[in-house]
């Protein structure tokens, strides 16, 4: 059922909000992930912990030649992504659930719940597709991972270059109250993303949005900021600007993503930049380095590094191992070793 994993990196890039191209009324797939961690900070671990156990089920299909749907149901227990202390137990949470009508290749209409098209990582976040067992803060902290609303998207070609766009609107429905209590979520949002393949293997993207966001309250104490009980909400809309680049060859996959959220009343500007380099060593073995800076976390900037390896063997198993370390320790970002197993099925 799963696609074949190759020992090389793709060189075609992905465009915003890819369409569903079903070949029947119902197809089912998914992925699973198990991540183990042994952290030295914020609290020294005495044993290996399961920091993530997740299964996502995908269902999609074609209702008519131009109408399709896709649903992703996430069942997960996560202690952290890179953001420790925000435990999320999801018995069954819809990450995506939308209908899509395709008027033409250049014009598709999507309604429902879908991944926020900001940057490249968020729309390709499945563990078997990413290089590291932890996720950069930049790729999810400034915005909600999913939104409820409407989207218009399309793809085309100009001079042999593939281009894509997405424009989305999330009204103030607040349907996520119980779905993402520990994460950023949109009060409302309006934004757009464009991306294109400039040269074979080189994909560039820009994201802009006007968002009003709600997130868990950070309460400072003597040990640093901690997650409070309630949530705080932006008093007004804030501008978000993002940019991303990915360069892929058969042996190298370099990617970088930056997202910047403008200051608003009572809230300083927020954002960061992350870069990942994966270099194939031999066969399915890749060495991976990642660096990130983000602010504010615990009221200041943090710098996060990751060094490890990723092994993509056969169609069913991706193994990632490595160490995450912090330049400025935070009370909420784990500093330690990670080992993950994941698979598309």
């Amino acid at each position: 059922m799963a696609m074949l994993f190759a020992c090389v990196s793709p060189a075609l890039g992905q465009l915003p909000a890819p369409p569903v191209v079903g070949t029947g009324p119902l197809q089912v797939g998914g992925y699973g992930a198990l991540t183990l961690s042994f952290a030295e900070r914020p609290e020294p671990a005495h044993a290996v912990e399961v920091s993530e156990l997740a299964v996502a089920v995908l269902a999609w299909g074609q209702i008519s030649p131009r109408t399709s749907y896709l649903a992703e149901l996430d069942m997960a227990k996560r202690t952290s992504e890179t953001w420790t202390g925000r435990e999320t137990d999801r018995r069954l949470a819809p990450v995506r659930m939308y209908l899509e009508y395709t008027a033409s290749d250049l014009l598709r209409f999507r309604a429902g719940r879908f991944l926020t098209p900001i940057g490249q990582w968020n729309e390709q976040h499945a563990e078997p597709l990413t290089w590291t067992p932890t996720r950069p803060l930049t790729t999810y902290l400034p915005f909600a991972k999913s939104l409820n609303g409407l989207l218009v998207a399309g793809e085309g070609s100009a001079g042999g270059h593939d281009l894509g766009y997405a424009v989305y609107w999330a009204p103030s429905l607040d349907l996520d109250r119980d779905l993402s209590a520990e994460e950023s979520r949109f009060v409302n949002a309006f934004g757009a993303r464009v991306a294109g393949v400039a040269r074979p293997g080189l994909t560039l993207g820009l994201s802009v949005a006007r968002i009003r966001r709600s997130r868990p309250i950070e309460e400072a104490d003597t040990t640093g900021a901690e997650v409070g009980e309630g949530r705080e909400e932006d008093g007004s809309g804030r501008a978000l600007l993002g940019a991303d680049v990915r360069w892929e060859t058969g042996r190298v996959d370099l990617s970088a993503e930056a997202n910047w959220l403008a200051a608003a009343e009572g809230a300083p500007y927020e954002g960061g930049a992350s870069g990942t380099a994966a270099v194939r060593v031999y066969g399915p073995l890749w060495t991976v380095l990642r660096g990130e800076t983000y602010r504010p976390v615990d009221g200041r900037s943090v710098r996060i590094g990751f060094a490890g390896v990723t092994v993509r063997t056969g169609p069913h198993l991706v193994l990632k191992a490595g160490r995450q370390f912090l330049h400025h320790p935070s009370s909420r970002i784990p500093d330690g070793w990670f080992l993950s197993f994941s698979s598309l099925f």
């Binding site: 696609m3 793709p10 890819p18 896709l70 042999g160 040269r199 820009l206 680049v245």
Partner: protein, 156 residues
């Protein structure tokens, strides 16, 4: 600053297409075929459009009819040659691309076992497009139109 740098990078790199140039210099004998009922086939007899069809990035003919690309098995040498020449990547190199598309509900084009099966599928399926050796379509079978053949190898 990062967005500005990226825009500059985009402007600096947005020239020329190398994807197909390499492919056009080899694999002379591969011909792209389509279902004869597709009325606009002559207007899209273009390798870039065929590339987008087989990557599932373009789903409709100019007439509005759905495109149905058909592949040979991954082990087929003709498929490997077509993949390199038309898509700019080997079959194996394309696998991660399809893994990412799978996450969004798209699988690669379906496969059939042989060139004869490609011709049969194309003949019977409106909107279908496939590829075969030139020798298979010197006289195309009923229901099949030969769109174009990949250029002769320049370096012999």
């Amino acid at each position: 600053m990062v967005p500005v740098l990226l825009v500059a990078l985009l402007a600096a790199t947005w020239g020329g297409t190398a994807t197909l140039a390499t492919g056009q210099e080899r694999d002379a004998a591969i011909c792209v075929v389509a279902n004869l009922s597709e009325p606009a086939r002559d207007s899209v007899a273009d390798l870039d459009v065929i590339r987008r069809f087989f990557l599932m990035r373009e789903r409709f003919w100019p007439s509005g009819a759905a495109v149905h690309p058909v592949n040979l098995p991954a082990s087929s040498s003709l498929r490997e040659r077509f993949s390199r020449a038309a898509l700019g990547q080997s079959v194996q190199e394309l696998a991660p691309y399809w893994n990412e598309r799978y996450f969004h509900g798209t699988r690669p084009p379906p496969t059939v076992a042989s060139e004869a099966a490609v011709l049969l599928y194309v003949a019977r399926t409106p909107g279908a497009v496939g590829y075969v050796e030139r020798s298979q379509v010197e006289a195309p079978p009923a229901g099949v139109a030969r769109l174009f053949c990949l250029p002769e190898r320049e370096d012999g």
